[in-house]
Amino acid sequence: MKTKNNPLYYILFIAIFAILLPAGYLSGLLSVNTISVWGRYFCFAIAALGIDLIWGYTGILSMCQAFFFCLGSYGIAMHLLLKKTVAAGAVLPDFMAWNKIDTLPLFWQPFHSFGWSLALCLLIPALFAFVIGFVLFRSRIKGVYMAIITQALTLAMWLIFLRNETNLGGTNGLTDFNTLLGYSLSSSSVKLALYMISFAVLCAAYFFCYRITNSKFGKVLQAIRDSESRISYAAYKVVDYKLAVFVVAALLAAVGGMLYLPQTGIITPGRMDVKASVEMVMWVALGGRGNLKGAVLGALLVNFLYSICTSLFPDSWLFILGFLFVITVLYFDKGFMGLLESIKQRFSPTRFKTPQTTH
């Protein structure tokens, strides 16, 4: 009795973001910054899809998605910074020179090449996720312990990235880029292009997750969430499935991070502090857990709300977010998407009552 393939959502979504917003910009109604801001939200939505896979579908609360997001961002940032440095005829990025480093650290070397940067941006998070997941899932850590350990890990990584000795820019992060593959990042047409690419990648990621969750693989994930012991007595290797979905979620976060960077122009460890990693989970909680549309909607809506609230009442954003979260937990645990569905159900009672009135 699920209304799975209601095209209305997709049509609305594409109409607004692929046609209305770009048209608004081209006709001069919207500034290019608005476009860029939404482009960034799409990146968050991509990461949110991953969180929905791992948490909403599989029931593993991973608090280190923000870290994977940052790994993607940092990788691209390193590439952009090196390009700029080389173009300026220098050997070292400015911040390294200030830190009195005389040779480029070894791990920066591969980021000279764009291809290597892309590959490493995906490989490193995947490898991290694989190792973390392998250790945690094999030792059968689950539930709140999983959340605490992954959060602690993100915190540890945050502390490492904050240090100047890590050679990743410390607290200030990496910033001040000018070109990506020769295109100037400050030009409006590049911003629009990045917006469209982010949108396309979001659609592709959604389609990919949709296929996964509707395959038998997706059903196994839900079965792991519902009853882990039952599924292992049915001869499914739970660790393999958890590991696979954890790596996929990490990759989605990293892809989000990679697209995010050129649109914001800065990445600091602040993107993966405790607040940021909790917020990412909240997008999915508010949008609707175990529902891909909910994850996308949650990420877009919460961030949109954030930008409104921070300009209207700058100091109260966290209170508003906390209030929303409490309301969600108390009154509509299926999030915003669940609320929409139940409203729809109320307004079209005939469709849902027929199966019950037949007997």
């Binding site: 079965a223 519902d226 009853s227 039952r230 049915a234």
Partner: protein, 251 residues
């Protein structure tokens, strides 16, 4: 012998939950295990299916030792388990519950690229018919009644097509009619599978115990015999106090 158990012992916090000298099961045998609460019946099944680790002892299934293997390895070798508290996947439909259980390759890639075949659909349908689940195929398993959940879990075990089925209190929470139907089903299944059933309901035990009944008391095997022998054994009667005792006497 399909299953051979020797000197199996496990204790929880110093209490001997199970101390079984010997237990064996023929191929295609239906064995009922009875015993008062805390006799170690469920613990015994837990050890066989890998949920609980034994302190010592040996279990041979089909001639191979399965003690200490993982749940998945044990399930793959052909042992299926139904738990005392019905454990199904409440967030999935009945159909999906059955689909996941069905015997097939269960690694990640097979699941990702899984396509249903008519043979599989038929098989799921025929098991669903056997367990009266056809009317609720597309309902969420979490919305089923207790009795239906019990049947769904039995269906899950049946679809796994194990050599040995471990069935823990299948009739708990069922009406008399449902209980009888469950009994008939187990008898039919025992033609093709070996089954160990744990049960409290003596009427139900009488219905299905065509072969041996094992009585466990405080983790030890008290006796083994036909239902009539067990029923009239003074030691068994002594062990059962209260309600279950009354049940035995009325038979």
């Amino acid at each position: 012998m399909l299953l051979n158990v020797n000197n199996l012992a496990v204790s929880f916090g110093g209490v001997h939950a199970l101390n079984l000298d010997h237990f064996s099961l023929r191929d295609k045998e239906l064995r009922v295990i009875i015993g008062p609460n805390g006799a170690g019946k469920s613990t015994f099944l837990d050890i066989i299916c890998g949920k609980t680790k034994a302190d010592k002892g040996e279990i041979f299934f089909n001639g191979k030792s399965i003690l200490g293997k993982t749940e998945v390895k044990i399930a793959e070798s052909g042992i299926g388990r139904k738990f005392q508290k019905p454990s199904v996947f409440p967030g999935l439909t009945v159909h999906d519950n059955l689909l996941l259980a069905a015997k097939m390759k269960k690694d990640i890639f097979s699941s990702l690229f899984f396509k249903s075949t008519p043979a599989l659909a038929d098989r799921i349908h025929s098991v669903a018919v056997k367990l009266s689940l056809t009317n609720v195929m597309y309902k969420l398993a979490g919305d089923l009644s207790h009795g239906q959940k019990q049947w769904l879990e039995i269906a899950i075990v049946v679809l796994q097509d194990p050599t040995l089925m471990l069935i823990d209190e299948p009739a708990a929470g069922m009406s008399d009619e449902e209980t009888e139907k469950t009994g008939a089903l187990l008898l039919e299944l025992s033609k093709a599978h070996s089954i160990i059933v744990i049960e409290h309901d003596m009427k139900f035990v009488e219905q299905i115990a065509n072969e041996l009944v094992t009585v466990l008391v405080r983790g030890k095997r008290l006796m083994e015999g036909t239902f009539a022998e067990v029923k009239n054994d003074q030691r068994v009667i002594d062990c059962y106090l209260g309600r279950t005792n009354a049940q035995l006497e009325t038979l």
